[in-house]
C-alpha cells in the first residue's frame, strides 16, 4: 500500500468542508436544545402532578433503595452466574441440534426427526412450565436436593436451544450452496465443510437474531426465582416486605435493564451495519 501524497484541497472542497462542519454543529445544537426542552416539560409534568409524592414514596424511596441494595445485588450475581452457564450451554447444544437437522441420508432419519420434534416442542412450551418441571421434577426424580446453579441453566438451555437451533439452521440454509460444493470439491468431509466453511458464514448472517435471543435470555434468567433461589427478583420480593414499598422491585428492574442495554445497543448497531452492507452490495 502506498501512502497518498499530501495534496492541498481546492478552495471548493475547503468551502464544502466548512459548510458541512457548520451543518453538523447546527444539528447538534438543535438536537440538544430540543432534548432539554422536552425533558424539562416531562419533569415538570411529573413533579407537579398531584399523585407524584405518593408514587415516589411507593416506587422511588431512596432509603429503601440503599437498604435493599446488598441483598438484591447478591441475588443479581446469582442471576449472572446462571446466565453465564446457560449461554455456553445453549451455544453448544443449539449448534448440535442445528447440525442434526442438516444431516442427509436415510440412516439419520431418527436424528433429524428427534431434533425437529425437540425444536417444535420447546418453542411452544412456556419457559415457566419448563422451570417448574425441571425445578421440582428432577429433584423429585433423584430424591435429593439439586443446586439452582444446575436446575436454572438446565431449564434455560432446554428452552432457548430450541429457538437458537432454528436461527442457526436458517443461517446454514442461507449460505450459498456453491460454498458447500466448493468445500466438498476440496476434499473436505460433510462435517469439516459444515464446521470450517458453512457454520462460520451462517453465524455471521444470523448474529442480530442470535443477539436478540441472548437479550431475552438476560431477562428470563429472572424467572429462576420460582425455583425458590434468592436471585435478584426473589431478593426484591423479600426486601419489599421489609420496607413496605415497591422500590426494591424497581431496583432489580434497573439492574436487569443496565445489564441488557449494552447488548441492545450493540445489536441495533450491528443490524444497521449489516443492512448498509447489503445495500452497498456487500461481500460475495
Amino acid at each position: 500500500m502506498t501512502a497518498t501524497e499530501a495534496r492541498r484541497p481546492s478552495p471548493i472542497e475547503v468551502e464544502r468542508q466548512a459548510f458541512r462542519r457548520r451543518q453538523t454543529a447546527r444539528s447538534v445544537l438543535v438536537g440538544a436544545a430540543s432534548t432539554i426542552v422536552f425533558a424539562a416539560a416531562i419533569a415538570l409534568l411529573i413533579l407537579f402532578s398531584p399523585g407524584w409524592p405518593k408514587v415516589q414514596q411507593s416506587f422511588f424511596d431512596p432509603v429503601a433503595w440503599v437498604g435493599a441494595w446488598p441483598r438484591v445485588w447478591d441475588g443479581f450475581l446469582l442471576n449472572l452466574q446462571v446466565l453465564g452457564i446457560s449461554v455456553v450451554g445453549v451455544a453448544v447444544f443449539a449448534t448440535i441440534i442445528a447440525f442434526l437437522r442438516t444431516l442427509r441420508g436415510a440412516v439419520w432419519f431418527p436424528a433429524r426427526f428427534l431434533a425437529a420434534a425437540y425444536t417444535d416442542l420447546f418453542r411452544g412450551l412456556p419457559l415457566i412450565i419448563v422451570l417448574y418441571l425441571v425445578g421440582f421434577g428432577i429433584p423429585g426424580l433423584l430424591q435429593q436436593r439439586v443446586p439452582v446453579l444446575v436446575l436454572g441453566p438446565v431449564a434455560l438451555i432446554i428452552t432457548y436451544s430450541a429457538y437458537v437451533a432454528e436461527v442457526i439452521r436458517a443461517g446454514i440454509e442461507a449460505v450459498h450452496p456453491s460454498q458447500r460444493i466448493a468445500g466438498r470439491a476440496l476434499g473436505l468431509t460433510h462435517g469439516q465443510t459444515l464446521r470450517m466453511v458453512v457454520l462460520p458464514q451462517a453465524i455471521r448472517k444470523v448474529t442480530p437474531p442470535l443477539m436478540n435471543d441472548f437479550i431475552s435470555m438476560q431477562k428470563d434468567v429472572g424467572l429462576i426465582s420460582v425455583l425458590g433461589a434468592v436471585d435478584a427478583v426473589r431478593a426484591a420480593q423479600i426486601e419489599t416486605a421489609t420496607w413496605g414499598n415497591f422500590t426494591p422491585y424497581v431496583l432489580a428492574g434497573v439492574l436487569f435493564v443496565v445489564l441488557a442495554w449494552p447488548m441492545i445497543r450493540l445489536t441495533d448497531w450491528l443490524s444497521a451495519r449489516m443492512q448498509r452492507r447489503e445495500q452497498v452490495g456487500g461481500a460475495a
Partner: protein, 244 residues
C-alpha cells in the same frame, strides 16, 4: 496410462439424458478443452468426474482406480482432483492464504507452518503475495479466480478441472487468468477445462472435444477441430462462434 478415463458415462436429470455415453481419455500432462453449446453437458461431465453428481451408467477411472465404484471413498477422490467453477469459489470468511492452505491442512494433514510456507510460495507464483492476508471481497474477479486456481492445485492434485473460469469476468481480467492456466500447463498439470474462449482453446489445449447434446461429437487437435471440422454439427456450432 491415462490419468483420466471416462467410459460410456450416462447421466439424466429426470427423464432428460444430459450425458449419453461419453468416452474420454486424458493422458498425463495433457490439456483438454471441452467446447459445446450451452446445455450440451460440459458442466455435468465435470461434476460427474469430481463425484459431485453420480453417473447413471458407465465408469470413470482416475489414475486407474474406478472412482464410480460405490466402494470408493468420495472425499479421498475429491482430494486428488482440483476444481474451479465459474464463480463463488473462495470462502468469503477466510483470508486468501487461509483459502489456499485449508485443503492442505484439513484434508492432507500438512502441519500449519509447512502449509503456510507452501501457500505463500504458491501465492507468490500466481502474483498474489501482497494479498495473502486480504479477504476475497477485497480482490478483483480475476485475482479471486487466480486464488481459486492456486487453491485447487495447492496439494499437488493429479487432475485440474476448470469450468468456464473466465466467463464471470470482465474481458480485461480474462487474460490474467488464462495466463495462469498457460503456466500450469507449462508445469505439466493435467487439465480438463470447459470453455467458451475458442482462441484460448486453440492456443493452449492439446486436444479439443466438442460435446453436442450429451455426446462427444468430434475431437482432435485444436487446429483440426476448430480450423477444419469434419462433422456438420461442429461446423454449425463454430459458425456461430467464429463468424467470418
Amino acid at each position: 496410462m491415462s490419468v483420466l478415463s471416462v467410459q460410456g458415462v450416462w447421466k439424466s436429470y429426470g427423464d432428460r439424458a444430459v450425458l449419453r455415453g461419453i468416452d474420454l481419455e486424458v493422458a498425463a500432462h495433457e490439456v483438454v478443452a471441452l467446447i459445446g453449446a450451452s446445455g450440451s453437458g460440459k458442466s455435468t461431465l465435470l461434476k460427474t468426474i469430481d463425484l459431485l453428481e453420480r453417473v447413471d451408467d458407465g465408469r470413470i477411472l482416475l489414475g486407474g482406480d474406478d472412482i464410480t465404484d460405490p466402494r470408493a471413498d468420495p472425499d479421498g477422490v475429491r482430494a486428488r482432483i482440483g476444481v474451479v467453477f465459474q464463480s463463488y469459489n473462495l470462502f468469503p470468511h477466510r483470508t486468501i492464504l487461509d483459502n489456499v492452505t485449508l485443503g492442505l491442512r484439513a484434508v492432507h494433514r500438512v502441519p500449519r507452518d509447512e502449509a503456510t510456507r507452501r501457500g505463500a510460495e504458491l501465492l507468490e507464483r500466481v502474483g498474489l503475495a501482497d494479498h495473502a492476508s486480504a479477504y476475497p471481497d477485497r480482490l478483483s474477479g480475476g485475482q479471486q479466480q487466480r486464488a481459486a486456481i492456486a487453491r485447487a492445485v495447492a496439494a499437488g492434485q493429479e487432475l485440474l478441472l476448470l469450468d468456464e473460469v473466465t466467463s464471470a469476468l470482465d474481458p480485461l481480467l480474462v487474460g490474467e487468468v488464462l495466463e495462469l492456466v498457460r503456466e500450469l500447463k507449462a508445469d505439466g498439470t493435467t487439465i480438463v477445462m470447459a470453455t467458451h474462449e475458442m482462441a484460448f482453446a486453440r492456443d493452449v489445449a492439446d486436444r479439443v472435444v466438442f460435446l453436442d447434446a450429451g455426446e462427444v461429437c468430434e475431437q482432435g487437435p485444436p487446429a483440426q477441430v476448430l480450423g477444419a471440422p469434419r462433422e456438420p454439427r461442429t461446423r454449425a456450432f463454430l459458425a456461430r462462434f467464429l463468424p467470418s
